[in-house]
């Protein structure tokens, strides 16, 4: 009986050590995951902001003006028949 108790205590002791090691390793992995996701969220947020700003940029009047200038769609290229309908009717 005494020997059995001794083995049982040893077994519980080993089980506790194993459990402790498992919890420790598991918490390390969880920490790694938290760290990984924290960085991922931050990166996504930054990318999201960058993309949002790119959309704003191409949607801006400044960008439209620069593209219009590049394509020569400026006042001198404006068709005169928009002001005087007789030109449009002659076409």
């Amino acid at each position: 009986m005494k020997t059995l108790t001794k083995y049982l205590i040893l077994l519980i002791f080993l089980a506790l050590i194993a459990g402790n090691i498992f919890v420790f390793v598991y918490s390390l992995n969880l920490s790694d995951d938290i760290n990984h996701f924290e960085k991922g969220i931050e990166k996504l947020h930054q990318e999201n902001l960058n993309l949002e700003n790119k959309i704003y940029e191409v949607d801006s009047l400044q960008y439209a003006a620069s593209i219009a200038a590049q394509l020569d769609f400026i006042k001198k290229a404006e068709p005169s028949y928009l002001e005087n309908l007789k030109y449009a009717k002659n076409q």
């Binding site: 920490s31 931050e42 902001l49 704003y56 949607d59």
Partner: protein
């Protein structure tokens, strides 16, 4: 030695080792232990965004990074500095001055973008790190520089809004920072059984302005062209809805680059539309006329005999061209902008009433616009007014006011007499909900009947004025020109003028009221030949934009 004794001794040695290590960590090297394990980081809030009335962005945020160094970990300062300088080009001397070997942490440069950060990371330096943050980004560049203001730093290095909307609504826009307290291991991973506290930041509130980006762009473009064409020193265009006094566009030139505001001196930051005083000249005449009509001191069908100059004490008042038409109606006084005619109306109104109406129209107090930097109202005490002052004020000389006050008072002339508070923010959005700002009537200045009469008189001032403008056919546009000489060292310089035009359309139910001011135009000193044409140029665009049908 028995087994238990060996075990006891082993435990004793282990305990002693642990105590020695704890003594080293907690007593000998206490500073490093705090920072190594328990990390307290400030989480910066994202500054509120600013949109126009159609939810188009005017000021948003972009990620930015603060580069810092840990000088104690730098093996060779010279090599470190030259590598950093190859990317940032800050200058070796200024970089070296920042690396203080006695400090654990020094900030090197903020506002870095993603590419710069990557280049610095590629250098493979061990003693550097980055803190995440935000920086303002303006998709429309400096379209609304004076209106928005800019975000700079306070003496603690925190972001603070200065001037315009950024300054006025700084507390709403700034938000509240969050805090993260976390035990971390040597590799920076959270220790789950240690302290883990996180207080999320509260991001700033988003503002939705009354400004229409398209109208703002058009006004700025036209103003730029007007300043160049009339060779003016500076100019302003303000456009508002007179029924609500929500500002649709507000632009003054020259302005500044919002992205590189630090290259400009403070005088460029001040918004002349709310901070600079000017003498309104003849655009002030409708106020005297409306007050006299309201008090029934004159009637719309009254006549005045314009025979020649008027003498008040030692001063002589003439018409702008020194020509006199004989019997003229009250409407004709405004049409031909007769100084002697309006002095007659002012005499009929009386000094006490003039002063009382100046206060009623709000020239003595702030307009209350929600922009930082409004110049306080100033009206001399009534006891300091001489008869000549009452005469000159009737044609807008000897009184100084800001363009925004002019808009506010003029709107009350044409909206039935409601003196409203001008505003540029119509909605504030936060996580808690949305707050809409409603137009606010402060008091009544004149009756609806007088308002209708003055509108008709101003329509006639455009239709039958001294100058014929390129007015769009079929539309009824009303307004008044103004040319005021600029006071310099106690005298008026006739060569330097402030030319202005204030007008609105359609007359029956005004959709917009616009004020155009040009300071010291060189091509002509007259408002009718400079600010007037510019106003009609802008009005034509607004009629099309707002889809206003001819009357």
């Amino acid at each position: 030695m028995t087994k238990p004794r060996i075990l006891l001794l082993s435990f004793l040695i282990l305990y002693l080792l642990i105590i020695a290590k704890l003594f080293h960590l907690q007593i000998l090297n206490s500073a490093s232990t705090d920072t190594t394990y328990l990390k307290t980081n400030r989480i910066p809030p994202e500054r509120g965004k600013i949109y126009d009335r159609n939810s188009q962005p005017l000021a948003v945020n972009k990620p930015s990074f603060l580069l810092y160094a840990e000088p104690k970990k730098i093996p060779s300062v010279d090599e470190f500095v030259s590598k950093i300088d190859s990317v940032l080009q800050l200058g070796v001397a200024s970089l070296s001055a920042k690396i203080d070997k006695t400090k654990d942490w020094v900030a090197i440069k903020g506002g870095l973008d993603k590419e710069q950060k990557q280049k610095l990371l590629d250098l493979g330096l061990k003693a550097i790190g980055f803190e995440d943050g935000y920086q303002r980004y303006y998709p429309e560049s400096s379209l609304s520089a004076h209106l928005l203001g800019f975000v700079g730093k306070d003496f603690q290095g925190e972001d603070v809004g200065y001037f315009g909307v950024e300054g006025y609504y700084n507390r709403d826009l700034a938000g509240l920072p969050g805090i993260i307290k976390s035990d971390r291991d040597i590799l920076g991973r959270p220790i789950l059984i240690g302290t883990q506290q996180k207080l999320d930041p509260e991001n700033g509130r988003d503002l939705y302005l009354t400004i229409d980006k398209s109208v703002q762009e058009m006004a700025k473009r036209k103003l730029q062209a007007g300043i160049e064409s009339y060779q003016a020193k500076e100019g302003c265009v303000l456009i508002t809805n007179p029924e609500t006094l929500e500002i649709l566009a507000l632009t003054c030139l020259p302005d500044f680059d919002v992205d590189r505001y630090y290259l400009f001196s403070e005088e460029f930051f001040k918004n002349p539309a709310i901070s600079n005083l000017y003498e309104p000249g003849s655009t002030f005449k409708p106020f005297i006329m409306a007050s006299a009509l309201e008090e029934k001191r004159v009637h719309p069908d009254d006549f005045y005999d314009e025979t020649g100059p008027v003498r008040i004490g030692e001063y002589t008042i003439k018409t702008w061209n020194n020509k006199y038409e004989g019997k003229i109606s009250m409407t004709r006084i405004l049409e031909k902008s007769s100084n002697v005619g309006i002095v007659h109306v002012a005499n009929r109104l009386g000094g006490k009433n003039i002063y009382s109406y100046l206060r009623k129209f709000g020239f003595a107090d702030l307009s209350g616009i929600d922009l930082q930097g409004e110049a306080p109202g100033y009206l001399r005490d009534e006891s300091a007014w001489y008869p000549i002052d009452y005469a000159t004020v009737s044609f807008g000389q000897g009184i100084a006011l800001t363009p925004i006050k002019m808009m506010r008072a003029f709107a009350s002339l044409i909206n039935g007499g409601k003196l409203l508070k001008p505003y540029v923010v119509q909605r504030i959005n936060s996580l808690a909900g949305s707050k809409t700002i409603q137009p606010k009537i402060e008091r009544r200045t004149i009756s609806a009947k007088t308002s209708e009469i003055i509108k008709k008189m101003l329509l006639s001032a455009v239709e039958n004025g001294e100058v014929r403008w390129a007015k769009p056919k079929g539309y009824e546009i009303a307004g008044k020109t103004g040319t005021a000489q600029i006071p310099i060292q106690g005298h008026y310089d006739p060569t330097k003028t402030v030319a202005s035009f204030i007008g609105f359309a359609p007359v029956s139910r005004p959709k917009f009221l616009a004020l155009v001011i040009l300071r010291e135009p060189q091509s002509s000193p007259w408002g009718s030949e400079t600010a007037g044409p510019l106003f009609f140029d802008i009005a034509k665009e607004l009629l099309v934009y707002y889809n206003i049908a001819p009357e």
